[in-house]
Every structure is written in structure tokens, then in C-alpha cells.
Symmetry: C2
Subunit: 124 residues, 2 copies
DNA sequence: GACAACCGATTACACCCGTAATAGATTACG
DNA sequence: CGTAATCTATTACGGGTGTAATCGGTTGTC
């Protein structure tokens, strides 16, 4: 994959809006959702365009934007970088930390235990 | 707490070396461990000093450095920021992702399951 | 005592980032 | 048609970051 696109903090906000949308949306849709300064948000969209993280289709003078990279791919990339930076690449240490630190509902806990159980036998 | 010190990527490498050390160490110790350019590493130490993330004691012309902020505090801060950025603040979603994505030894899995079990009853 | 080696401090520099204003084109309205 | 509104594109700018070279002082060595 020729893709290690790096998405900044503020750009993540924009990407999450795009990923959550059911289809292409306009810059103003993003602005309305984020309730941030319109100029600023449009700058982010532009930078994401340059990076190849989003695509657009022009209708009249308005652009309709959509993600060009998958959320999952970006989450994985960002996660690996975080893991390397903060935990020196040790995933178990990271999980221990988060399990300790996170506020989880009983249902969440149940879900995670199930996942771990599968992981235990299923392997992979 | 007057402390939301922000530590950059490259600075984390330095901090991890300091945290892992049993006591104060010199800039050259850090250089030797990281095997990065000495000038560069020293720049990082200087910036960390300015930020108040490390302290030093001069012995002769050599400085002996030690962390001034706890690893745990920094990990927590960084973790929260990551959680907000990538998962919009949903800890369960993050854990599910990492449990799925991480390579874990059977012992790791066992450990995590135990932690979750405690969390389930003990709460908090 | 002179000079080389070495150390931390200062300076450099290009790029990214958050934040936004301005410019230029196009459209909508009266 | 002319003017106002509205898009996107371009430009701005201060601060952080990765990367490193230079400066100025101290120290160790001959």
C-alpha cells in the first residue's frame, strides 16, 4: 500500500464527520456538525484533499466530499503509531493500561471477555 | 495539576529511556541507547528541560538527567488524547479495536481476562 | 600553558499544524 | 445587468517538531 497518509488532530475531527455520514456531504455540513469556524474547517478539507485522504465531486460551485481512505485503515495506522510512541510497541502493556484506566459498562466488559476467549482458542 | 506537558514523538523516545533507567543518566547514555545523532538527542533533552519534563544535576560539566514527570501521568494524558482523537472518546470501541488488532501471547490473554473479571465484580 | 576534545546553549531551517483572512470566481437576486 | 452573497483557492503567521550545525566555555592532555 502506497498509503501512510498522516492525519492531524484537527483533521481527524473532519474525517470522523465524513466517515459517519451516509454519503458525500458539503463543507458546510461539516462546519455545522463541528460548529467550528467555517474558514478553518475548509482549510482542513483542503489539506485532506492534498493528502489524498478525501475526494470531492463538484456540483455547481459546491463540492461534495467523501473519504478516500477507510476509517479502519487510519485507525490501525494511528493505533500502531501510538503503540510505538507510548508503549514502545508492547501491545499487552497497552491493553493492561487501558483496561485499568477505562470506564467500562458491564456489557462492555462482557463483550471484551468474549473477544478474548475467542482469541484464546481461535488464535490468529 | 498545572501539568499538561506535551511530549512529542521523538521526545517520547528520550523519556522512555529516562524512565527505564534506574537513576539519573547522562545525555550520552541516552544517545548510546537510542543510537541517534548526538546533537539531535541533546536538542530533545533541552526541549524537555524547557518543558519541565526532565530535571538535571550538574556534575562537573556533565549533566545527569532524570524524569520530572511520571510515566504513568504521561501515558494517561497521551492515552486520553489518542482516545479522543481516534475513537471520539469511546473507550470500549478502542479496546475492542486493540484486542482484535493486537498480537497477544496466551499468557497476555489470560492476564487480561483476569483483569476484566476483577473489574466486573470489584468495580472501578 | 597551548591546544584539542568535549559539553551544554544557542541558532538554523524547513515542514506541519491550528487558526484564519483575503482573493478570485461564480452564482443568485433584484 | 449589476451587485451582493457565497464558494473554493491562496496566502498568512506564530508555534511546534525533526534534524542538526555552530558557538562559547571547560577540561583533560602533552
Amino acid at each position: 500500500m502506497p498509503h501512510p497518509i498522516s492525519i492531524s488532530d484537527a483533521e481527524w475531527d473532519v474525517m470522523r464527520v465524513l466517515w459517519d455520514a451516509p454519503g458525500p456531504i458539503t463543507a458546510n455540513d461539516v462546519v455545522d456538525t463541528l460548529k467550528q469556524n467555517a474558514r478553518t474547517t475548509k482549510t482542513y478539507l483542503n489539506r485532506l484533499l492534498k493528502k489524498g485522504a478525501v475526494a470531492f465531486e463538484a456540483k455547481g460551485k459546491v463540492y461534495w466530499y467523501s473519504p478516500r481512505v477507510s476509517r479502519d485503515e487510519c485507525v490501525r495506522t494511528e493505533g500502531r503509531s501510538f503503540l510505538a510512541r507510548v508503549f514502545g510497541g508492547d501491545p499487552a502493556a497497552m491493553l493492561v493500561h487501558f483496561v485499568r484506566d477505562a470506564k467500562l459498562s458491564p456489557a462492555d466488559v462482557e463483550h471484551l471477555r468474549k473477544l478474548l476467549k475467542e482469541k484464546e482458542k481461535g488464535g490468529r
